[in-house]
């Protein structure tokens, strides 16, 4: 069996006194999509954001536990947070392209990480836009503002931006919930494509989406993982009653 590319062990997250994540351990396998589902406020975003230490930026948040990537526990005080975030890409619910050109949105990260050669950058930009199925729509206006793109295009640009720095893992927090059905379908298609190269963790409220795109599903409830299994199993024959209630819409 292949080694896990990302492993969380006994994660607790506190916001001040309040415990939002109460001991979660999950393994994310390489080249698989894992969906995190659960009712609003159960801690999906909080958990996701602790995986790339994004909760560091919140003043009163405290994360304990171990997060292993590449044989290194990244939730230790001495770890270079800046370097590690390059290994873990992130996509947000609302598309948040930089207030820069389409080209710059993608080239910005790689250039900072040392690629200065114009040809090489051009190549990265084209490559990432192609992977995000955005090249044909944008190749004639690479130097126009990214803010002029539609919401769905912006979101695909954000995905392209995150793969430009060659991460191993991509975290997505409800990446399609602000999009129309056509854009949603495109983003889902894109996730299935990207799966061949990346480990993907996606938070979603859309059960059909979870069923369509993910290989494994974790059901979160009140800061804990109630059940974690293959997606078919979760959606056809869950072991826990709470999971069954949730996916069949009886609560949450």
């Amino acid at each position: 069996m292949e080694t896990q590319s990302l492993t969380a062990k006994n994660i607790h997250v506190h916001y001040g006194e309040k415990e939002a994540i109460k001991g979660v351990s999950l393994d994310f396998a390489p080249r698989e999509v894992t969906a995190l589902i659960g009712p609003s406020g159960c801690g999906k975003s909080t958990f996701l954001r602790s995986l790339n230490r994004m909760n560091d930026t919140i003043d009163n948040a405290r994360v304990t536990g171990e997060i292993w990537i590449d044989g290194e526990n990244i939730n230790e005080p001495g770890v270079d947070v800046v370097l590690l975030r390059q290994k873990i890409g992130m996509v947000w619910q609302r598309p948040n392209p930089f207030h820069k050109s389409i080209y710059e949105n993608i080239a910005f990260g790689p250039r900072y990480h040392g690629i200065k050669n114009k040809k090489q950058l051009d190549h990265i930009v084209e490559d990432c836009l192609r992977k995000a199925a955005l090249w044909d729509e944008t190749k004639d206006r690479l130097h126009n503002s990214a803010l002029a793109l539609s919401g769905g295009q912006q979101q695909r640009l954000c995905i392209a931006r995150s793969i430009a720095v060659k991460p191993k893992v991509i975290l997505m927090d409800e990446p399609a919930s602000a999009l129309d059905p056509v854009s949603t379908a495109k983003v889902e298609e894109l996730i299935s494509e990207l799966k061949q190269d990346y480990t993907i963790v996606i938070v979603t409220h859309n059960m059909h989406q979870a069923a369509r795109v993910s290989d494994k599903t974790a059901f979160f409830y009140m800061g804990k993982v109630v059940e974690y299994d293959r997606t078919e199993k979760i959606f056809t024959n869950p072991s826990e009653k709470a999971t069954d209630d949730y996916i069949s819409g009886r609560f949450g």
């Binding site: 003043d59 975030r85 910005f108 990260g109 990480h113 931006r161 995150s162």
Partner: protein, 295 residues
């Protein structure tokens, strides 16, 4: 009384009060400009004042005001940006930052005459800088710097959180995130705020009476060596600004046309302050379009 009537009455009162304020403001501006505009000419704007003869101008005073503004901004912009970035991005919430913020607020609302006297005691006498542009700039710094800190801090806080996180998530350092992602978004607000604050500095008189002084040496506008006594660019010479000049000729002017000069100078001052205000808005919008690259 129904909710609808109450709403109508409240709206009516608000409109009336707003209209009153606009009328007063417009009347004031109109009066000052109308009274002074006739006296403004190229000669008036560029020539030196006369003590007892008619026909004096405000050239050196206008220059002094602008130069003092530039000196003040040279001191306060870098410090204000640095402190604002620190307060918004690095300082941890806690008692210390709360105290700093409180001091900043208090300083920026200090009566300017108090700052003028403080400047006289500390900057002019204790530090021995004498009546000089530099002393004046330091006194203006006392209330301009807090404004700059607050402007920068608020502008950075106004940057959407997701923008900052997106940059950090790409593995960029905090500093690079601030300079390349956050500051470009915050710049229009910072520039607008800075120009508005500059308007206040430009019109300031009380803080300068005892720091920059009430006299100007004979300036030689062909001598641009900043170390020379008579050079306009020498920051260690005394310098009467436009606002101080208005105050002086109003209270002790001997020239027969003193009141016209005061009126003309007031109009110039008001027009400059208006230019700052409208310029700030226009320039802020221009930068916003430029930096966000929206067409």
């Amino acid at each position: 009384m129904s909710a609808k009537t109450a709403d109508r009455i409240a709206t009516g009162v608000i409109y009336a009060v707003s209209a009153l304020i606009v009328v007063i403001l417009a009347g004031l501006l109109g009066y000052i400009i109308f009274r002074g505009i006739g006296h403004i000419s190229w000669h008036f704007l560029t020539s030196a004042p006369q003590t007892i003869k008619a026909g004096g101008g405000i050239g050196p005073q206008l220059f002094n005001s602008l130069f003092l503004l530039v000196l003040t901004l040279i001191i306060t912009i870098p410090l204000g940006l640095g402190a604002g970035i620190y307060m918004s991005e690095y300082a941890k919430a806690g008692r210390l930052t709360d105290t700093i913020r409180l001091i900043v607020e208090v300083l920026s609302s200090f009566p300017s005459i108090v700052i003028g006297l403080f400047g006289l005691l500390v900057i002019v006498n204790l530090f021995g800088l004498g009546f000089s542009l530099f002393s004046g700039a330091l006194a203006l710094t006392v209330f301009n710097l807090p404004l700059m800190v607050r402007i920068t801090e608020q502008a950075l806080r106004g940057v959407p959180r997701e923008q900052k996180e997106a940059s950090l998530a790409l593995g960029l350092s905090r500093w690079k995130t601030i300079t390349s992602v956050m500051l470009p978004i915050a710049t229009p607000a910072i520039v607008t705020g800075t120009i508005l604050a500059a308007g206040r500095v430009f019109g300031e008189a009380a803080a300068l009476l005892f720091t920059a002084g009430m006299s100007s040496p004979r300036l030689d506008f062909t001598n641009w060596n900043p170390l020379d006594e008579r050079s306009p660019l020498n920051p260690f010479r005394p310098a009467e600004t436009l606002a101080v000049h208005i105050w002086k000729i109003n209270s002790e002017g001997l020239a027969p046309d003193a009141s016209q000069i005061a009126a003309g100078a007031s109009a110039v001052l008001i027009i400059m302050v208006l230019v700052f205000n409208f310029g700030a808005r226009w320039f802020g919008r221009y930068l916003h379009r430029k930096f966000t690259a929206t067409k």
